[in-house]
């Protein structure tokens, strides 16, 4: 208990960093992932090819490698000086959106064919069919797997701590500097992550109940 109470500032800062990183990356990856999914089902062959190439490459790349590039290789390009935090955000967004894209695309596949056919018969364009008919139904059916991707993102934010972003995963280093029991400190970190997942699960249940379409 002492380990936690004596170092509340450390835990507070660490988990604040985790939550900030998570919120930025979650919103970013949902947006970018949806755009990617739209590309992968679009009538333009070139866009489909780009989408597929991107998703297949990123899904086979370790996140550590992505963050490694942003941490060490990016500064060599001397483009613009962005802080570690934002570079980690960009890396997490690029990585997670590939998974979001796949989930959204599988959701699009669950929408009955008749829906899209009916809207085509009414003269809707691809954009209208997607945005007004298919996509709203697709998102509702993928709430559980989409939340799982976001939970995985929350856990993945710890990797950013390995590249000196102030973050819950880095608490152990400061603890051992201050001479506290690292094992107890790390067990607290693990417990807080389990607790952080709970609101996400509740949100998932809530949305699932409210949004699930009767089919």
């Amino acid at each position: 208990m002492n380990v936690l109470l004596d170092n509340l500032d450390l835990y507070g800062r660490g988990f604040l960093g985790t939550i900030q990183l998570f919120l930025v990356a979650a919103i970013g990856s949902l947006l970018f992932g949806t755009i990617l999914a739209g590309m992968r089902v679009s009538p333009v062959p070139v866009l489909r090819a780009f989408g597929t190439l991107y998703v297949n490459t990123i899904r086979n790349t370790p996140l550590t490698l992505v963050l490694f590039f942003f941490a060490f290789a990016y500064p060599r390009l001397e483009i613009a000086d962005i802080s570690f935090f934002w570079r980690a955000c960009i890396g997490l967004i690029l990585y997670t959106s590939a998974f979001v894209c796949e989930v959204v695309r599988s959701g699009i596949n669950t929408v009955p064919v008749g829906q899209a056919e009916a809207s085509r018969a009414l003269g809707f364009t691809f954009g209208q069919t997607m945005s007004q008919v298919v996509f709203p139904q697709a998102v509702r059916s993928v709430v559980p797997p989409l939340t799982n991707v976001q939970i995985a993102l929350l856990k993945n934010t710890t990797i950013a701590a390995g590249f000196s972003v102030v973050e819950a995963g880095g608490i152990y280093a400061a603890l051992s500097e201050r001479g506290y029991n690292v094992l107890v400190g790390l067990l607290w970190v693990a417990l807080f992550f389990v607790i952080l997942v709970v609101p996400l699960t509740l949100l998932q249940r809530n949305l699932d109940r409210k949004w699930s379409t009767a089919r």
Partner: protein
């Protein structure tokens, strides 16, 4: 294959699609071109920075690192398959004193971030109990605990997805619980779940890169090490590129195998009631 989402393009739509495609290609090329331009401007393609590839010692160093990655993957893969089978058997057990702990373990290891798990093993346990866990085993045990729990859920889902008639018929024939499981359910479930299992193994391979953070001398670690060598010109970007190609190549081979298997199995629907692999919904987001 025509999609249901849009009509077959007519002459007007074809022109428009071509236009959008052209603009999209230009955008992607512009981004790539900008990166390459920056690479050239900052002198990253200078021969001096690529000289390290020609040194035999460095080649051996990278091969060693590759072997460290692959051996951690192989050991972790085998162990997590075993742990997964064990936990799944526990969770499917009829005795609540076996199944409850199994559920708790599975949920616990899936909820804790893998990196924190590895930290607990590497920094926590070794300092608290004085047991020195080498980096290799910290990575392997961490990967095993996490992926074993995930695989346990995969196995369970595979067995639960089998038609009920399979186990009912086996019980009607007078088989015991163990016999039903090993002779009837498992062979079918394993077959159906093979692609999912393989893609989970890709996750194991990807996550060996976490070893870099606890200084396990795998590929990324060597990239960092070589990249900070002043007498080579600190070629961190160049080494990282080579390492990235190796990592992505390895993972692509594995997931290619998984896709191939999936295709083959959906072509020959044999093996009793085993439905072709369908990952349970909750596993779709496994990263």
């Amino acid at each position: 294959m025509t999609s249901v989402l849009y009509d077959v393009p007519g002459p007007k739509a074809r022109v428009r699609n071509l236009l959008i495609g052209g603009v999209g290609t230009l955008l992607v090329l512009a981004v790539l071109g900008f990166v390459v331009y920056r690479l050239i401007v900052t002198g990253q393609f200078e021969p001096r920075l690529w000289e390290w590839i020609t040194y035999v010692n460095i080649q051996y160093l990278l091969l060693d690192a590759l072997w460290n990655t692959v051996s951690a993957f192989l050991v972790a893969a085998v162990l997590s398959l075993l742990l997964g089978a064990l936990l799944a058997a526990g969770r499917l057990s009829d005795h609540s004193w076996v199944s409850r702990p199994a559920v708790v373990l599975i949920e616990l290891f899936r909820a804790i971030p893998l990196l924190v798990l590895i930290f607990i093993l590497f920094f926590g346990v070794s300092r608290a109990f004085g047991i020195d866990i080498p980096a290799f085993w910290a990575v392997v045990i961490g990967l095993t605990l996490y992926n074993g729990s995930v695989l346990a859920e995969v196995f369970r889902a595979g067995i639960n997805a089998l038609p009920k008639g399979q186990s009912e018929a086996a019980y009607a024939l007078g088989m015991r619980k163990t016999q039903v499981m090993t002779n009837v359910l498992l062979p079918q479930a394993l077959r159906a779940m093979l692609p999912t299992i393989l893609s989970q193994l890709v996750v194991v391979l990807k996550d060996t890169a976490l070893g870099y953070i606890i200084l396990y001398p795998e590929l990324l670690y060597q990239a960092r090490f070589l990249g900070s060598q002043g007498q080579l010109g600190s070629p961190i970007l160049q080494v990282a590129m080579v390492v990235a190609v190796i990592y992505i190549g390895l993972c692509l081979i594995l997931s290619g195998g998984s896709k191939l298997l999936e295709k083959r199995m959906s072509r020959t629907p044999k093996g009793g009631g085993a439905k072709p692999a369908e990952a349970p919904e909750e596993l779709a987001g496994v990263l």
